[in-house]
Amino acid sequence: MPPKSGFQRAKNIGYDDDDVYDDEDYFDEEEGGDVAADEMSEEDKEQMAIGTAKVKEALGSEYKVKEADIQDALWNYYYDVGKSVTYLKNKYTPKTQTPAKPKTASRFDQAAGVADAKAPTGTIKAKSKPKVVEKTDGDKLAESVEKLTVKVKSKNLDVIEEYRKSGLKKVSSFVVIGHVDHGKSTLMGRLLYDLKVVDDRSVDKLRQEAETVGKSSFALAWLMDQTPEERSRGVTVDIATMPFETEKTSFTILDAPGHRDFIPNMIAGVSQADFAVLVVDAQENSFQSGLKGQTKEHALIVRSMGIQRLIVAVNKMDTVSWSKERLEKVRQATTTFFESASFSLKNITFVPCAGLTGDNVVQHVSASAADWYTGPTLLEALDVSEPKKRDLERPLRLTINDVFRGSGQNPLSVSGQIEAGTCQVGDAIVALPSRETAVIKGIELSDGSPADWAVAGQIPTLHLVDIDPIHLRFGDMLISPPPAPSVRLVKSFTCKMLAFEHVLPQYVDVFRGRQQATGLITGLSSILNKNTGEIVKKKPRIVKPGEVARIRIELEVKGEGGGLPLEVGSRIVLRDGGKTVGAGLLESYT
């Protein structure tokens, strides 16, 4: 506090008129010091006068510093001339501070020499030092706060236009499905390895780790299976998301778990995919158990969730010595099944390959036994697959697949596929079902690169601010704020259902991507003709596998605001007791 006569009264007046005190931060701290100082003695005044002169001298003519400032600084530093000088210099030349540093240091020493001997340096220095730190910290904080608000300010881009201009590669994602232990993860690990998406070193490291636990053949799968549980048990539990690029397309792999217990996770993966790679084991026994098990169930789920394009990777061809007959057998057996599941055969490609050896994954097969094969490699088959049509014009729809702490600066991040619409940094979004708003602070694409915007089809990570993490859970939906049309939280609805098992009025788990709720089938209203949709039979007692029926479902709602965010045309999967009993297409809701 600069000493002035008639201190108590003058203080306020002085502040009001003095435009030097424009720095609010500084002002506040002054006040603190003020209270402690209370009143100024004659001694102090004298000291101040001497100090001011000394500081002026030390600063020289290059610094045009106001007297009031000098007095402020002196007061703050307990008449320590050296410190005051350094502080003032910093304050008046903030830009050139860094190069000037050594110079100021030497001056500090100089000035310290002439510092008032009366000041008990030891304690006071200790006292004042943290103050300096505090100040700069405060300044930095203020700066970063400023930056933060600037950052969240929207650039107001026309995202669709930007997207067209950017000439981005096609964006496509595919889900890898199939029976447990048919080699999905290994095949994908091989694909990434041969494309050099992962380096030799990390694969070698995994190889070593796998060998030490006696599971050397799992090394490539461990690129996808990262949790300790997955590695120790050798099964995939959750979807692994991995990006890679070809010349034409940036792909995202969604490696699904094959084990039947984790089909909920697999459904979450399918909901984000444009097409599917069905991995089947070429070996007879394993192939047959797959046909009865998840090869069949997965294919049905994929089909009923609206995926048309399917690549059948006939894996482990090395174990049947690339036998052409074997491939034909597998092709025949699966084709019959695909026909009955209403896949259109022109959308299905068969690719023989071997994930473990890498034959016909990225490189063409080297074994002479496979000379007969002239078709595409797995990679080539992927590259010709067209992604689904995107709805960029519609309002944003994004289902949260994961909530996590992105990094120190991004304490709350979510990821998931944008199903429709676009978003950009600075956009406000609404989370359902909590109906809380948040602001997008940053966007990261699946390869980890930051971006200003993201469009439907991409699987970005959004860094959010202005929302409490308790309002965001897996399966929640992010949508555009009003006036864009919102999504109703549906509690009961009617849907067309393709039955996989016998269906009675019963409890079922209703899945929509990562979202899940318990529902009760309250009524079987009619059985429909599969192709024409005509009513074949009213009020059936039971729906048999393969039949299409119109059913009514009521969701068990927990508390207020429950229900699933569903829209007409949403595709849902119904499960009960670990089995998929049917797949539905929402027709109407109340």
């Binding site: 990262q226 949790t227 300790p228 549980e229 997955e230 539990v237 959750d238 692994a240 084990h259 217990d261 984790f262 909920p264 009923s304 026909e339 009955s340 209403s342 259109s344 697949n401 994961d402 909530v403 996590f404 702490r405 990821s415 980890g448 859970r473 897996f474 067309k496 259902m497 393709l498 016998h502 009675l504 009025p505 019963q506 409890y507 788990d509 318990t518 009760l520 089938i521 309250t522 059985i527 429909l528 003709n529 599969k530 192709n531 024409t532 074949v536 039979k537 009213k538 009020k539 007692r541 039971i542 039949e547 299409v548 499960r575 009960d576 007791g577 670990g578 797949a583 539905g584 297409l585």
Partner: protein, 407 residues
């Protein structure tokens, strides 16, 4: 439940029964026994306001025996309290006839039931079952998934959801392994403390030394992982209670983390080995048999009120395997005629047809499954033809071709 006194005329069904509820589950029995129009007599505390001249009043609380004619009952599952509302049916010096009163039935407080229309066979059976203390199977069950768990207490007649633990665990992904493991650790910690709190408080309430078995059920290996964590936790904290409970822990497989996934768990060998021949395992097995008949379409299963009545008419629920499954909610109907309809049906099957009748508790998963079917279903002795016969269109449905399926 202890039966203190019973005076029920075997022929007319008229009479009273005086009961003393002793266990929490007894409140559930009382809830099922007490019907609208019944007369209940129990101790009550009522505030009596009296005029003491010149408009001044004095009020005091008086404990008295009250008889009310029941108009409605309200059972709070969570706190296990039963409130019976009605109108006073016998005049006392403090309370007038016809004034409203709600009796709060409590444990260790006796009450008397008098059935105005007489005790029907279902009510008598219920009374017998309520007072049968010999088989009291109980089990804790945790149905869990990743980051989510439902803690339930399964008793003879109820599945009570005691707590729900939900912790969001970040998924695997580039560089998030640390967060995933941390989240999992947090989930396990929360779950074990919540579970122990529930189990310990229940044990205190029950005042028994008996250890109630604990069943952990999940898809995959989440339950196994949690058991491993519990073992380590018991060693680390030296928790005596948990150490005592560990030997009776069973791990079973369930399809999901929902309470209704318990249905299949309770039928599994892991559960039946611990509580063999408990009511809930028998009921679950029966529902499964029913579903099996439904699936194989041998016509030996039927559900829904009208269809069942027709089946009973035709004598298909009789000797030699006929089983009627009926939910207790049908007997709790506020409509007396409705109750009589079902009691008559039950009596007919038991006395005339010679079939078996099972009353399923709506608080168990098997009972919930039955309720979805309209609260009543039956396994038949011989196949009945379908009620509506329009089978001829089957052919059209089998057609497939290049045409797109509508779904």
């Amino acid at each position: 439940m202890r039966l203190l006194r019973q005076q029920i005329d075997a022929r007319t069904g008229a009479g009273t029964a005086t009961l003393l509820p002793e266990e929490p589950e007894d409140m559930w029995h009382a809830y099922n026994l007490i019907q609208p129009t019944d007369h209940i007599r129990a101790k009550a505390v009522r505030r009596i306001t009296r005029e003491v001249g010149a408009g001044a009043t004095s009020s005091q609380r008086v404990a008295l025996d009250l008889t009310i004619a029941v108009t409605s009952t309200d059972f709070d599952l969570a706190s296990n309290e039963l409130h019976v509302a009605g109108r006073v049916a016998s005049e006392t010096e403090h309370v007038k006839m016809g004034s409203h009163h709600t009796l709060d039935l409590e444990l260790n407080r006796k009450f008397t039931i008098e059935k105005v229309d007489g005790w029907d066979s279902v009510a008598v059976d219920m009374l017998r079952e309520a007072c049968n203390t010999s088989s009291r199977a109980e089990m804790w069950a945790v149905v869990m998934g990743e980051g989510i768990a439902n803690i339930c207490l399964i008793t003879e007649h109820q599945t009570i959801l005691r707590n729900r633990v939900e912790v969001s665990i970040p998924r695997k992904g580039k560089g998030h392994m640390e967060q995933h493991n941390k989240g999992l650790e947090k989930f396990h910690n929360t779950l074990v403390t919540t579970l122990l709190r529930d189990m310990e408080s229940a044990k205190r309430d029950a005042q028994t030394e008996k250890t109630v078995p604990l069943l952990l059920a999940s898809a995959g290996f989440y339950a196994q992982a949690f058991l491993q964590f519990m073992k380590e936790y018991a060693v680390r904290t030296g928790d005596k209670f948990l150490q005592g409970a560990l030997p009776s822990v069973v791990v079973a497989h369930s399809a999901g983390e929902h309470v209704h996934n318990l249905a299949e768990v309770l039928a599994s060998p892991a559960a039946t080995s611990k509580v063999s021949d408990a009511k809930f395992t028998r009921e679950t097995a029966l529902m499964d048999t029913f579903m099996k008949h439904m699936r194989i379409e041998d016509g030996r299963a039927a559900y829904g009120p009208r269809e069942i009545e027709r089946a009973v008419e035709s004598g298909a629920v009789g000797r030699g395997g006929g089983v009627l499954l009926i939910s207790n909610t049908l007997f709790r109907s506020n409509n007396i005629a409705e109750r009589k309809r079902w009691v008559a049906l039950v009596d007919r099957i038991k006395d005339v047809e010679g079939g078996e009748v099972r009353v399923l508790s709506s608080l168990h998963e098997s009972g919930k499954r039955l309720e979805a079917l309209g609260g009543i279903a039956a396994i038949l002795t011989y196949p009945l033809e379908e009620m509506d016969e329009d089978e001829e269109e089957e052919v059209a449905n089998g057609v497939r071709g290049d045409e797109e399926m509508i779904i």
